[in-house]
Symmetry: C2
Subunit: 123 residues, 2 copies
DNA sequence: TAATTAAGCTTGCATTTTGCAAGTTTAATT
DNA sequence: AATTAAACTTGCAAAATGCAAGCTTAATTA
């Protein structure tokens, strides 16, 4: 959890799927990106208050990592950061859509949340 | 790593994206499914010999978990298991395609591997 | 303007997951 | 009958995660 200037995320192979999973293949990253894409969230505390209750150290770690790999950036002061997706980050939208579609089909998903997702992704 | 009969994977929320990540939101599951979908692999040893060099205990753990949640099944004898995707597992194809497309765009992907993926997903 | 709040971290520590190396079991092959 | 090998299993060290608490300083409020 110690943060060094550069913590290179190493690739396990050159496979595009493997490379993608090296970036966002964990339980939290895509949820943060979901929050940005579908729930209009952009601040640390907004992410922190998501239903899945991420812990502060993990949230911080992911925000740093996602920033490092170029999926998100932020503007504003240190005490009032506003995160946003980069172009690269926005390219994850089709992934989130596919994941959501799968989840909608195969899990007892929450209806109110579905409204959001379905509306936002124009299903 | 101990295996109990039922190791229920617990949901962090009812969000379809979160639920999906509870199933395959780790660094290995989607690679095993990639192996099945795009590389025609179906046996333990074939998965074991993938470029990313998964370790045996993790491979075993994932095969058990993916089977438990209904994404894969197997036929054949205990010593000659052949895994295959269930209908539910096949529904992950759009996810893999989206992930691959993202990876192709944003990582220095291996060209020979790309042939496979692109051919298999009809890009 | 001094005190309070709160946003964004940071730390410590216990638990869990991962990675690595080696060993085990038994069907299939020689 | 002996050997191979496929599919695990185990042990242990290292890393990631989760939880609770504390810290720092900009913004707000009194």
């Amino acid at each position: 959890m110690k943060k060094q200037a550069k913590e290179i995320i190493e690739k396990r192979s050159e496979c595009p799927i493997s490379c993608s999973m090296d970036l966002v293949g964990d339980k939290w990253s895509l949820l943060i990106i979901r929050d940005m894409l579908y729930l209009g969230k952009s601040t640390y505390n907004e992410f922190l208050n998501s239903k899945e209750s991420i812990s502060t150290n993990i949230l911080n770690d992911r925000l740093v990592k996602l920033t490092e790999v170029g999926l998100i950036t932020y503007t504003g002061t240190a005490k009032r950061k506003r995160y946003e997706l980069t172009k690269m980050g926005l390219d994850l939208k089709p992934v989130l859509e596919a994941v959501a579609t799968f989840g909608i089909k195969h899990s007892a998903a929450d209806k109110t949340f579905l409204q959001h997702v379905i509306k936002t992704m124009n299903l």
